[in-house]
């Protein structure tokens, strides 16, 4: 449960750094859903939580946004989603020292946002390190690089006063098209709501 604890603390601190109160309201429920091993409930709660943050945290222009602050809010959400869905790996049960260091970094990050973002990135790297990922990381990095490049290239068109809607459409369209490249292969997907019939997800 160490990783979800780190993710919850990171999300709460990231929210507080940006002046958000919504995370404090939802995070305890997300933590309980994870502790009770109810993935589907966790997903639903996360959906509502993300919509609520999207309502509270506002970026009117991506080119004028405070990037460290945006990353302070966004990055812990990814850590939270992954640690909520992923079955806890026993490796995290041992290095309690890692927990202490990372939380200390979060506290320090309260004063220097870049340190907080760095600590979250380290936690993310730790989370994914056990998976020996190659192609997945490569695909994600390429997609992200393409999006950033596209945003940089289209800055002249998109960086306008009141152009948030256009930026949203651009990001949405570009992300969707990139994702379609990787969604062509057919994979069997697990059912949502099987916890209703299959009570024990613990193994």
């Amino acid at each position: 449960m160490i990783m979800i604890a780190i993710a919850v603390i990171a999300a709460a601190m990231g929210g507080l750094i940006a002046g958000l109160m919504i995370p404090l309201l939802f995070l305890p429920f997300l933590f309980i859903a994870k502790v009770k091993n109810k993935k589907d409930i966790f997903l639903l709660l996360f959906l509502v939580y993300a919509l609520a943050i999207g309502y509270e945290f506002e970026i009117a222009n991506i080119y004028g946004a405070d990037l460290p602050l945006v990353l302070c809010v966004v990055m812990p959400q990814l850590l939270l989603l992954d640690s909520g869905l992923k079955d806890e790996h026993p490796i995290f049960a041992k290095p309690k020292i890692f927990f202490v260091i990372i939380i200390s970094a979060f506290v320090f990050g309260w004063f220097v946002n870049e340190v907080f973002v760095g600590a979250v990135l380290i936690a993310l790297a730790f989370e994914f390190s056990s998976e020996n990922a190659r192609r997945g990381i490569f695909a994600a990095v390429i997609s992200l690089a393409l999006l950033i490049s596209a945003l940089a290239l289209a800055q002249g068109v998109l960086n306008l006063e009141g152009g948030a809607a256009t930026q949203v459409v651009f990001i949405s369209a570009f992300s969707t098209l990139t994702a379609l490249l990787f969604f062509r292969t057919s994979i069997d997907r697990q059912e949502f709501g099987d916890w209703i019939t299959n009570k024990s997800q613990k193994r």
Partner: protein
């Protein structure tokens, strides 16, 4: 709906929210989730190797341990569910486990089989990613089939027969031999099958040999034994069912000497002997014994043992009935009515009927007759089981399988007949003493 579908819906909602609220943050957040999904999709490529070990010879309804050796050939941690694709009637546990990248492990779980020879395929293994979003099924290849032979479980048969047969036998016994009263009738020498609690110890000490008390029994009505002496009953050289049936008839006649007892013997040509139930006692038993002197067997009825039929050549009941209709009437028959119908038409309006007949020769006719008779009579059907009379010294595997298949078919038929009248499948050793000993 799929879990991934929920996340994609979530992405869409965030895009819509960003557009409607003129806010770029939800769009960035949803892009990040899409990147996360891309990562998970590309990384999910499980590979599993499995091999099952199971004993070749199993026992019916007895849990058997099966070992499954699993190896995770990819470098990701996988959650595995194991599903067995077993023949109908089998039961199996569905174990689940987690397997690290490159890890190899042996899983043990239990299967409960049913009788027969089966080819078991390896189980289907469902490999799920650690986030519970995707899965892949690994189906067994056709070469993974392992043959298992599931033998009847003697302990179970014994238990079942104890539970079911005892009740049925007791009921039949009371119907046939009357309900025993507490009134002493006579004393006689102990015979095998007599109950120990009926031994008169005083008389035994006085006379120096085991003496048992015989009590008066309340019996109602006449008893008729209807004996099938047809071709099917005469099959076999060393031991035919008719020999057994004759001995059993004599024993029954003696045991039922206190009732008015009649006998009807019929074969494929019609009724051969008929002894009306006029009197009781040993005189009537002697008459019946005389009637049972069936005499020389007509050459057309002479039994002979056929070699095992080829698969597919053996006729089914329907086919036999059809051939019976189209073939000319058996040479020597006196009328177009079948022998069994002739035999039962000679019965009085009410009586206890004891049928000793082969149930496989003219099953449909026998069932129709029993259905009609049970409205007016109390009936018990005793049928010598041909499988138990099979007299090969050392049957080979093919023969055993063939016999077993016939035995199973017969079990179904016996079950069906039991729904109509109490039916007892008898073997060599099931003569009256044994039967009485078993349920007296």
């Amino acid at each position: 709906m799929k879990r991934e579908g929920v996340l994609l819906l979530f992405v869409l909602l965030l895009f819509v929210q960003g557009y409607l609220f003129r806010n770029v943050f939800p769009a960035l957040f949803s892009s990040l989730i899409l990147l996360y999904l891309i990562y998970l999709r590309v990384e999910f490529s499980p590979a599993i190797k499995s091999e099952r070990q199971i004993a070749r010879k199993l026992k019916d309804a007895e849990r058997v341990k099966t070992k499954l050796r699993l190896k995770n050939l990819c470098n990701k941690r996988l959650a595995l569910d194991i599903f067995e694709l077993l023949p109908p009637g089998f039961n199996a546990e569905t174990p689940a486990l987690n397997l690290g990248g490159g890890e190899e492990r042996e899983v043990e779980y239990f299967i409960t089989p049913v009788r027969g020879i089966f080819k078991l395929r390896d189980p289907t293994i469902r490999a799920k990613d650690s986030r519970g979003l995707y899965y892949a099924d690994f189906l067994p290849d056709s070469e993974s089939k392992k043959e298992v032979e599931v033998y009847p479980n003697l302990d179970r048969i014994r238990e079942e027969s104890k539970a079911g047969e005892t009740l049925k036998f007791t009921e039949a016994y009371k119907t046939l031999f009357g309900i025993q009263t507490l009134e002493l009738d006579s004393l006689r020498e102990f015979q095998s099958g007599d109950e120990q609690r009926h031994i008169d110890w005083k008389a035994t000490t006085r006379l120096g040999e085991l003496i048992v008390k015989e009590f008066l029994k309340e019996t109602k009505g006449d008893v008729y034994i209807v004996l099938d002496a047809g071709k099917e009953m005469r099959k076999g050289i060393k031991s035919s069912k008719i020999d057994f049936a004759t001995t059993l008839t004599l024993q029954l006649a003696y045991a039922l000497r206190k009732s008015k007892l009649g006998l009807i013997v019929y074969d494929d040509y019609g009724i051969t002997r008929i002894e009306a139930a006029k009197t009781k006692g040993s005189v009537q038993v002697e008459r019946i014994a005389g009637s049972l002197n069936i005499g020389t067997i007509p050459t057309t009825l002479m039994g002979f043992k056929l070699s095992l039929p080829e698969k597919g050549v053996r006729l089914k009941e329907e086919s036999r009935a059809f051939i019976g209709k189209i073939l000319p009437v058996v040479k020597g028959r006196r009328s177009s009515a079948t022998s069994l119908i002739e035999a039962v038409s000679s019965l009085p309006a009410t009586a206890f009927l004891l049928f000793i007949a082969d149930i496989t020769a003219n099953t449909r006719e026998l069932i129709n007759v029993l259905l009609d008779l049970r409205k007016r009579h109390k009936i018990i059907l005793l049928s010598p089981n041909p499988i138990l009379f099979y007299d090969a010294d050392s049957p080979d595997r093919e023969t055993l399988i063939w016999l077993y298949e016939r035995y199973k078919e017969r079990e179904v038929l016996i079950k069906k007949l039991n729904g109509i009248v109490p039916t007892f499948d008898l073997g060599y050793s099931d003569l009256l003493d044994t039967i009485r000993g078993g349920f007296g």
